[in-house]
């Protein structure tokens, strides 16, 4: 299929239009409960954005990195300090600069990828996770010498207008995520993405074609960290509305890793599917617990069941569909497409007989 606009095909543009109508018109008119915005839609968009970051470094460039939450923390605290100390930057400016600060950390912690790979790289990137959190905890300056440990995030003000209601914050997250997703798609489908995938699939051949391993890997780490940084800033300012290093612990990194793998490595839409699944699944499980079993099952047991099912799903996906839910969805669509014409053929052939 030929791209119509930028790198998007006609089908992509139709999908985009449908998503935009759904998210801009349908959702705000039909969903009025705040719970949906504050607990599901906003974190979904933020985490999907962070998962795109993880996809770039892991799914596209094939570097096993585990420190997304560390870069998110860097982005979140950079945002807090920028708004506090450089108010002239404005919200959007601060968001971009905090992404760039996270990207600088990404470059620093991406350097080991030149020497180590696979599981060893994963251990090396863990350093970023612990180092960034430790740094924020250790030096009071980052938290503006707040002794309570939890700082309230500043209100979001864009061009003099406050964005403080859940709906307004949802729109902020939606706008940022949409723009960054479209840019990520352009990169992934263009020469940049081809270099990433070439390094992932066969690094020695990539090098013999003139792809610099140093530049490609470091670039992927930087862009990935930029996405995570912006996601972290949004996560803190729109979802948590507070800043504490503990919110960005290793558990969040693992969560993003799971979203990436379950959604489908090396796909952009997989980031959204994976994030939705991991966020909605516990909600669904709780609803089942309350409505079917009427609270007979203890909440702690439900959360344990959740862990068990996640673990099981990871193993099942790794064995049967390593490309995750995005690929599963493609396959289902493919089956439908082949099924429909065959059933009409059947009907016409039956019609001929009678």
């Amino acid at each position: 299929m030929k791209p119509v606009f930028m790198t998007y095909t006609k089908k992509d543009l139709i999908n985009l239009a449908v998503c935009m109508v759904l998210s801009v018109l349908v959702i705000p008119t039909f969903i009025t409960t705040e719970y949906w915005y504050t607990s599901i839609l906003i974190p979904w968009l933020c985490l999907a954005l962070a998962t795109i970051g993880q996809q770039i470094v892991m799914g596209y460039t094939g570097q096993l990195a585990l420190g997304a939450a560390g870069f998110m923390a860097a982005g979140a605290f950079a945002m807090f300090n920028l708004i506090l100390r450089v108010p002239d930057l404005g919200f959007v400016g601060s968001l971009i600069v905090s992404g760039l600060i996270a990207a600088a950390f990404g470059i620093l912690f991406g350097l080991p990828s030149l020497k180590v790979r696979g599981i060893y790289l994963m251990v090396a990137t863990l350093a970023s996770q612990f180092f960034i959190i430790w740094m924020i905890d250790k030096f009071g300056w980052f938290k503006n010498y707040d002794s309570s440990g939890i700082i309230t995030a500043q209100d979001i003000v864009i061009l003099g207008k406050p964005f403080t209601t859940p709906l307004a914050m949802y729109f902020v997250c939606l706008a940022v995520t949409t723009v960054l997703t479209l840019l990520a798609m352009n990169m992934a489908r263009g020469s940049t993405g081809r270099n990433w995938m070439a390094v992932r699939d066969m690094d020695i051949a990539a090098e013999s074609m003139g792809v610099s391993l140093l530049r490609t890997k470091v670039q992927a780490f930087a862009i990935s960290a930029f996405y995570c940084g912006v996601a972290g800033a949004l996560f803190a300012f729109c979802y948590l509305k507070s800043l504490e290093p503990v919110a960005f612990d290793i558990k969040l990194s693992f969560k993003i890793l799971f979203m990436c793998i379950l959604g489908g490595l090396g796909t952009i839409n997989g980031a959204f599917i994976g994030a939705a699944f991991i966020l909605l699944f516990p909600v669904l499980l709780n609803a089942i617990g309350n409505n079917v079993f009427h609270g007979a099952i203890d909440a702690t047991i439900i959360s344990s069941i959740e862990q068990v099912i996640f673990g099981g799903l990871m193993i099942i996906f790794m064995i049967y569909e390593p490309l995750g839910m995005a690929k599963l969805w493609e396959n289902i669509k493919q089956k439908w497409k082949t099924k429909i014409p065959s059933s009409t053929n059947l009907k016409s052939s039956l019609g001929k007989k009678t």
Partner: protein, 264 residues
């Protein structure tokens, strides 16, 4: 050769001087020298373990020889890396297929256009006009190569799903896409049937004939090599035992001994 060549064989483009390479105590190549002339088809042959692939890896910078030098286009290259050689106009294929398995045939060949891609990631992200222009040129060139190799019908298939013979063709295509002046082919016909071999020979000669690309190939099959190459260098136990035209090599006693064995 009776037919007049469009690109006449010229001066040496690639010179290998006194290369020695060892892995620990194992000597892979000992004091080997030979040259490759511009626009020729040059073959490196030899029995298993003769050091043919190691030789290519030295030329391309994957291995660093302990001694000796490689000169390319008249310049001696002190710190060879695969990347540097690619930039200077030397491309290659690999013995055990080093394709990008999850990418389509077209994308694989497009990676070969890397050195003709000057735009950076930000320009790509925003799809600036110059990115579109460059991408268009690269795609057109890749499509040309695809039709040249007669693989149009599989261009959107992930290469990992293709049969071996076709993968070898894609790898040749990727090397061609770089528009390099020299292409090193590491056993381009290994594991192919007679028909596929004949096909591959045809493509190698066609590339050499139409584009004037200098081809350096390693091959096991003596028959094939003798048919298509201008000059042959024979390695055995990491040493040159014969060098010259196919006829000269065929009548060289040392070569016959190495290939057929010798009575002691």
């Amino acid at each position: 050769m009776a037919i007049e060549r469009k690109f006449k064989i010229g001066k040496p483009i690639l010179e290998v001087k006194n290369i020695s390479l060892s892995f620990g105590g194992v000597k892979a190549i000992t004091d080997t020298s030979f040259d490759v002339l511009e626009h020729e088809v040059r073959a490196i042959i030899g029995p298993n373990g003769a050091g043919k692939s190691s030789m290519l890896n030295c030329i391309n910078g994957i291995y660093k020889p302990q001694q000796g030098t490689v000169s390319f286009k008249g310049k001696e290259i002190p710190n060879i890396t695969p990347n540097l050689m690619a930039q200077m106009g030397l491309s290659r294929t690999f013995q055990n297929l080093a394709l990008f398995k999850r990418m389509s045939v077209l994308d694989n060949i497009l990676v070969g256009r890397k050195l003709h891609t000057k735009t950076n990631f930000l320009e790509v992200a925003f799809q600036l006009p110059k990115v579109k222009k460059e991408e268009k040129i690269n795609r057109e060139r890749s499509e040309e190569i695809i039709s040249f190799l007669e693989i149009e019908d599989i261009k959107d298939t992930p290469v990992g799903k293709l049969p071996y013979g076709l993968q070898k063709k894609v790898e040749l295509g990727r090397a061609l896409a770089t528009d390099s002046s020299v292409i090193l082919l590491d056993e381009p016909m290994a594991g192919m049937n007679v028909e596929e071999k004949r096909d591959m020979c045809r493509f190698i000669l066609k590339v050499n004939d139409e584009l004037g690309t200098t081809m350096v190939l390693i091959e096991h099959d003596m028959g094939v090599v003798m048919d298509i190459s201008d000059r042959v260098v024979v390695l055995d136990y990491g040493k040159v035992i014969g060098d010259g035209t196919p006829d000269e090599v065929r009548s060289n006693q040392k070569v016959i001994d190495a290939y057929l064995g010798v009575e002691h």
